[in-house]
């Protein structure tokens, strides 16, 4: 039996060996530029690099899990805030993406005049690189000269200090900006899925006297379920580590009330204002972020056919 398997393996190797040659460059890249740096990050997170009083390249020591233990005990309020913010950010955004995307897609899915014009215009934010439009949004939320406050002033609303006054205002600015960046994608994906639903299902339902709301509930929603689960979970994973909206608009403020793992980590290492770089703390938050993402991905693989397609 084992002999047979060895023989089969040998036959397979003889036929399939070129795959290894094709994968050689990408394997080198992944090992040197991903696997090694990840291992290096884990190592740095177990040192006093930057926190030992000497933030120099050469003088740091291995201290085991001390950073982690400190974070879970004495520094746990920061950690709890970061966990809460990261999940609130990703969960809140995904809920809005699904709501807006499903709503607009179902409106666009009717026989309506000017449908393709609407679709094209809704997709336009996509044409602009996100980094650039986020910078412009950051200006639009400006307290003194921002266009949002100027427009609110025309209807008599006092200017809001979106970024620096209250966590609610900061989150509102972040959520609205991120919905602007993402709703075209969700609308198009849901519209494409809806258009694949057989029309006679609706005709049969209409003959049976079902109104459009109950048609949506009984036909559209069940049909969309796999897509909703898939893009919802993938959107959650992506948003959890979506760096630029928070970094460029609030940079975690006011205080750390909108700080998430990825911005906290980057700021600890390369923060502005000449602060001492806390490399070991930054590395630790990277590792914690990575572990949370791995756990979430296990859920995604379990709930969707993500890897089935890859392994096919």
């Amino acid at each position: 039996m084992a002999d047979l398997r060895d023989q089969k393996l040998a036959v397979r190797l003889r036929r399939e060996w070129p795959a290894y040659v094709y994968l050689l460059p990408v394997s080198a890249v992944l090992l040197l530029l991903n696997a090694y740096p990840i291992a290096y990050t884990i190592y740095i997170s177990m040192t006093d690099f930057g926190t030992g009083g000497r933030g120099s390249l050469l003088s740091y020591h291995y201290i085991g899990l001390s950073n982690y233990l400190d974070t879970f005990t004495t520094g746990s309020s920061t950690f709890v805030t970061l966990v809460g913010n990261s999940f609130f950010w990703a969960g809140g955004c995904v809920a809005l993406f699904l709501l807006v995307g499903l709503g607009l897609a179902s409106v666009l899915n009717q026989p309506i005049r000017g449908k393709s014009i609407y679709r094209t215009l809704i997709l336009l934010p996509w044409a602009f690189p996100a980094f650039i439009t986020i910078l412009v949004w950051a200006n639009m939320w400006g307290y003194q000269f921002g266009i949002v406050n100027a427009m609110l002033a025309t209807v008599g609303v006092a200017p809001v200090n979106w970024v620096l006054s209250t966590p609610d205002a900061a989150w509102a600015a972040l959520f609205i900006t991120n919905v602007w960046l993402s709703f075209p994608f969700y609308t198009v994906v849901f519209l494409a899925t809806m258009q694949a639903i057989p029309k006679d299902l609706y005709e049969a339902a209409a003959i049976d006297g079902a109104g459009s709301f109950s048609q949506f509930l009984r036909i559209t929603l069940p049909y969309l379920r796999p897509t909703i689960v898939f893009v919802g979970l993938m959107g959650f994973l992506f948003t959890f580590n979506n760096f630029y909206p928070i970094y460029l608009i609030t940079n975690g403020g006011p205080g750390i009330s909108t700080q998430i793992f990825i911005t906290e980590s980057y700021n600890d290492a390369f923060g502005a204002h000449g602060a001492t770089p806390l490399y070991s703390i930054a590395a630790m938050y990277s590792v914690l972020d990575f572990l949370i993402i791995i756990a979430l991905t296990v859920v995604v693989i379990w709930q969707t056919d993500l890897t089935r397609n890859w392994l096919k």
Binding site: W17, P37, T41, L135, V136, A138, T297, W310
Partner: protein
Amino acid sequence: MRTRRGRRWIRLAKRVASHVVLILACLFALFPIYFIAVTSFSALPIASITAHVLLPNPSLLTTASYNAILFHQSPSFLSLLENSLIFAGSSAAIGLALAAFTGFALSKFNFPGRRAFVYFILLISLFPSVLLVIPFYFMFANLGLIDTYLGLIIPYSAGAVVFSGILVKNYMDSIPDDIEEAALVDGMSRTQAFFRVLIPLCYPVLGLAAFLAFIGPYTDYALAHVFITSSDKWTLALGIYTLNSSDTGSMPYGLVTAFAIVMSLPIVVAYIVFQRYIVGGLTLGAVRG
């Protein structure tokens, strides 16, 4: 009679409501773009620009901001553009080759260890790429590659490789094996069949992979901010960030938005020309049935 008229009213009200919702969505989608365009052509003191955006006065439109960022800026716009094109262009070329090879190996070969490899790249790609900057900083400092072109091109090339590789694989899966087999019957080797038959069939997805590999470095701030110290290697992304945070003069939004327009232009043009492939390629994987 009365109910029929009632139904017609409901249908009309529904149609009107649908248009209202869609028009509001379009206004939301378009307003920031409109804001960028109008502001970039308005060299006005900042306090009066907001009124001008809401109700533009044609006689106040000017190209002064474009003139300022294109010709009167240090480092020069041309130098920023050149560096961005060097970084993004070479990363796109290398990333494209990597994605093509990876997609081919994963799609058309059933080699021992394939499953393990797929799980390996999935696991590795979960680490947030922005946070790779921290270990990269020390690795590349040890190699003396900080503030060099090579030191940025290497990490940039690896940026989109897993995502693009899977994208190419999924596309190649849809190409029937018969096509490759016919090429083999004609006497080609598998390598020849890959380059002469499969690659041309994959142009749309390879174009998308190149586009994604280009746009990453083109709009990267996180890595460039840490790796580039001398201003002659500054990129457009560093340029617009610095302009945005430092310029508190009389018309900063004009400069930032003019910069945003010029910097976005190549991407917007590419997007409009290849819209079908980009939207199709990025949404196809998400539509489940």
